[in-house]
């Protein structure tokens, strides 16, 4: 019930050993994402402590970890939003530090924060984003209409997004992240706010993109989805990778029934049951007992 501290290096190394003969398809190709000794601190607070990771094209990588573990920082470095870091990061053959623009042209990013200029309409927003990628405005509009229409947003194309629900904004952001046909997609909680049908649609899109050779870097807390969607899972905690492998491999190694179990085993000191009990006691018992 109460597990000891994370397994740390042992699991990571064992995990890596298991994946070096990486199952699925394209092992001999050059990795499309490559991180070596990636280190980053904010002031004197270290966030990433030497991340080593290689991702082959056509994979869906689940990148999970507790809050503050360094997931978002890793992604921001990979997409060129954080130019200052130690170590090396290469995406699509281009060094992120030296050729950030080349990297940005080939990647798509859907942030967790659902940030967009909500006084614009979806068409206006996508037109703007498309132009930044150098696409012809008319082509952008054609793609936008098609993609948003498939997300059931045809009626809202000319309405300002300030009235949109979170799910609707998320759909626009997903569209914005893919409209320029990127080779690598960085998705941070892409399913949050989506209705059941759209969740299934997006999962299908991810699976098909992978089959077409695109690479997906998927950050999430929702373990069941990660379990099923990703063919490789990397768990990060305190700025270090502590597990890396396919779900079956990891499960076997740690005798865990689900990814959620595995995750809590590796990252927390446990005691969830005790916390739950005390929480309920806090409001069930009258404080007269404590004087």
């Amino acid at each position: 019930m109460v597990e000891s501290a994370p397994c740390g290096r042992k699991t990571a190394e064992a995990g890596k050993a298991a994946t070096s003969g990486n199952g699925t398809m394209t092992d001999n190709q050059l990795p499309i994402i490559s991180l070596r000794g990636l280190t980053k601190s904010f002031g004197d607070k270290p966030v990433l402590r030497g991340i080593d990771l290689e991702v082959q094209p056509g994979h869906v990588l689940g990148y999970i970890g507790p809050n503050g573990a360094g997931k978002t920082t890793t992604v921001k470095i990979l997409i060129g939003m954080l130019p200052e870091f130690e170590g090396s990061a290469t995406v699509c053959g281009h060094d992120v530090a030296r050729e950030p623009l080349e990297v940005k042209r080939r990647i798509g990013y859907v942030p967790e924060s659902a940030a967009l200029y909500d006084t614009l309409t979806p068409l206006e927003y996508l037109r703007f984003v498309g132009q930044l990628y150098g696409l012809d405005p008319q082509e952008v509009e054609r793609r936008a209409r098609e993609m948003l229409g498939l997300f059931d947003l045809t009626a809202e194309l000319d309405r300002r997004m300030s009235t949109f629900s979170k799910g609707m904004r998320q759909k626009v952001l997903i569209t914005a992240g893919m409209i320029h046909n990127p080779d690598v997609l960085f998705l941070d909680e892409p399913l949050s706010g989506l209705d059941a049908n759209s969740v299934v649609t997006v999962k299908e899109i991810i699976a098909r993109l992978a089959r077409r050779g695109k690479t997906i870097f998927y950050c999430s807390h929702v373990m069941d989805v990660v379990e099923r969607v990703c063919d490789r899972i990397v768990i990060i905690n305190n700025g270090e990778i502590i597990a890396d492998g396919s779900f079956e491999q990891l499960r076997e190694m740690n005798k865990a029934a689900s990814l959620e179990r595995l995750f809590t085993q590796l990252t927390s000191s446990g005691g969830h049951e005790a916390v739950a009990d005390r929480f309920i006691e806090a409001f069930e018992v009258e404080s007269s007992a404590h004087g």
Binding site: G43, E124, Y133
Partner: protein
């Protein structure tokens, strides 16, 4: 407006090519930013859903209109130095306030980074786009305010006025940009983002008051003979007065050569140039860095936003004395907290207190030009009545505004809780508004009145206080039957609005009239009548507090 600016940009295309930027991306970015400017709600209109008109264009027209008044004052003065100092002062103040009040949301918004940075736009294109955007924004503001002056000056002084004035305008704007950047950097050092947003709110409120005040004061300035014949060449303080620097070039070239004028002209050109260099070289990048850092690791936020152990809020302390029923008390505490923090609410209510004071004073002065004489004659009049009952207008504003919020869905709470008498919530909210606004406004007016009329009117103040309470209670009883902070902002239903406004004014007028009659009978009757009025108010409030669900649901139909 957007099209016009883009047309201008297209004309400058070769220049941008020369600067080494991607013109397509630049144009797209500026187009989006201008569109956003047009739809962004300024200060007092926060939270309201925008229509399809371009808000910014209306702002420009508004400023141009104000500019006419300013221009008239500027042209009527004997010396160009004085007149143009006033004009430039006005431009600098308005541009500066506008920049802080309306543009801060743009500068402080981290959304920009999240949207633009992952895209393949290089930093030079981005920087040029931002600079161009800000220049367009500020330039249009400055030009619209000074349009009237430009035309008037060209006619009165000559054609050469136009380029020189445009030059000094540019210098003024540059100087303002410098000052505002320094202000921002200081602010970022000294306080956290939340506190800073409050400061911005205060600036917005000040701006609203300044704008309304300007309309009242400017026309009076034109009759102020002393001002019109002023010569300030020889005053020592012109050297530290930036608007005076800006006025000097025209003054000099219009045939008033003096050592002072020459020095000032040099200052007018040199200081902004230095300032702008500092901004581009040091301040702006530093500011961007500070912003990026602040956004990327919110965990590092200044601890000032969370103050453990700070004294319990006034709301909690007062609630015990002022409220009876537990539901009423809970509502009082809640609404007190929200009213002290909700920005759109504060923005729509606090300036009214300032307006009250402003109009009160202006009313007392009337149309006279002899300020001192009028003041001396006041104690003989009964004008204090108007002052005291003016505060009755405070209540309606706060009470009417209290139901609006940017998060109306949060009101589900009232419906899900076991609330037997929803009137208790309304009563609690009323008391918050009564204490925070009506009492505040009344105290302001009462102090002003007591200062002028002294202790003779103490009894009247007492009666008026009770009467104000009664009127506010009546207004709440009739008009405030929706839960506080439960409705979205909207162009409020116009039907019934006129009737309501009229009624709001009638009650105070009736009570003021009653007060007047009592005084006429004998000035001391007011003291005796006050408790009666108070009891009446209390009874009315009790009824208010016992409003039932059916009554409330009727009201929301």
């Amino acid at each position: 407006m957007v099209r016009l600016s883009l047309w201008l940009l297209d004309g400058l295309r070769p220049l941008f090519r020369l600067l080494g930027v991607d013109y397509g991306q630049l144009r797209a970015t500026i187009q989006v930013k201008l569109t956003l400017d047009g739809r962004r709600r300024s200060g007092h209109m926060q939270g309201i859903e925008g229509k399809d008109r371009n808000v910014f264009v209306w702002t420009l027209f508004f400023y141009a209109f104000m500019g006419v008044f300013v221009g008239m004052v500027g042209v009527h003065t004997a010396s160009p130095l004085v007149g143009l100092t006033i004009v430039h002062a006005f431009v600098m103040v308005m541009v500066g306030l506008s920049l802080i009040a309306d543009f801060s949301s743009v500068l402080l918004d981290p959304t920009d980074n999240v949207i633009l940075l992952p895209r393949p736009i290089d930093s030079r294109t981005l920087l040029v786009a931002r600079v161009t955007h800000v220049t367009l924004y500020l330039g249009s503001l400055a030009l619209s305010i000074s349009a009237a002056t430009l035309i008037a000056g060209a006619i009165v002084i000559g054609w050469w006025f136009v380029p020189v004035f445009l030059g000094t305008l540019a210098c003024s704007v540059a100087l303002v940009v410098f000052f505002v950047h320094v202000f921002y950097l200081l602010a970022m050092r000294l306080m956290d983002v939340e506190r800073f947003r409050d400061v911005i709110l205060y600036v917005q409120m000040v701006m609203t008051v300044v704008v309304v005040g300007a309309y009242q004061i400017l026309p009076r300035l034109m009759d102020y003979k002393q001002l019109l014949s002023l010569q300030i060449d020889d005053r020592w303080w012109v050297y530290i007065c930036p608007p005076a620097w800006m006025a000097a070039p025209v003054h000099l070239l219009a045939g008033h050569p003096s050592q002072a004028a020459v020095i000032l002209t040099v200052l007018a050109v040199a200081v902004p140039v230095l300032g702008l260099t500092a901004v581009v070289g040091v301040l702006a990048p530093g500011f961007q860095r500070a912003l990026a850092q602040a956004e990327l690791n919110p965990v590092q936020r200044n601890e000032a936003s969370v103050q453990p152990g700070r004294p319990r809020s006034w709301g909690y302390r007062l609630s015990r004395w002022v409220t009876g029923h537990p539901a009423e008390r809970a509502a009082f505490e809640l609404i007190w907290q929200i009213a002290s923090r909700d920005r759109p609410f504060k923005m729509r209510t606090y300036p009214t207190v300032a307006f009250l004071l402003l109009f009160g004073c202006l009313f007392l002065l009337g149309d006279s030009r002899e300020v001192a004489k009028t003041l001396a004659q006041l104690p003989e009049t009964q004008k204090f009545l108007f002052l005291l009952y003016f505060a009755c207008m405070m209540g309606p504003t706060a009470i009417f505004q209290q139901k609006f919020t940017t998060q109306p869905e949060a009101a589900w709470l009232y419906y899900a809780l076991p609330l037997e008498y929803p009137g208790q919530v309304l009563l609690g909210a009323f008391k918050v508004m009564a204490i925070r606004f009506v009492a505040l406004g009344f105290a302001a007016m009462a102090i002003l009145a007591l200062v002028i009329w002294r202790a003779a009117i103490l009894g009247d103040v007492l009666f008026a206080a009770c009467a104000t309470l009664l009127v506010s209670a009546l207004q709440a009883w009739l008009f405030a039957r929706k839960f506080p902070f439960s409705e979205a902002f909207g162009m409020a239903q116009s039907s019934g609005r006129l009737g309501r406004s009229v009624l709001w004014m009638i009650f105070p007028a009736v009570l003021a009239g009653f007060h007047f009659v009592l005084r006429w009978i004998h000035p001391c009757t007011v003291v005796g009548a006050a408790p009666l009025v108070f009891i009446l108010a209390v009874l009315m409030l009790r009824g208010y507090g016992q409003l039932t669900w059916p009554a409330l649901l009727r009201a929301s139909r």
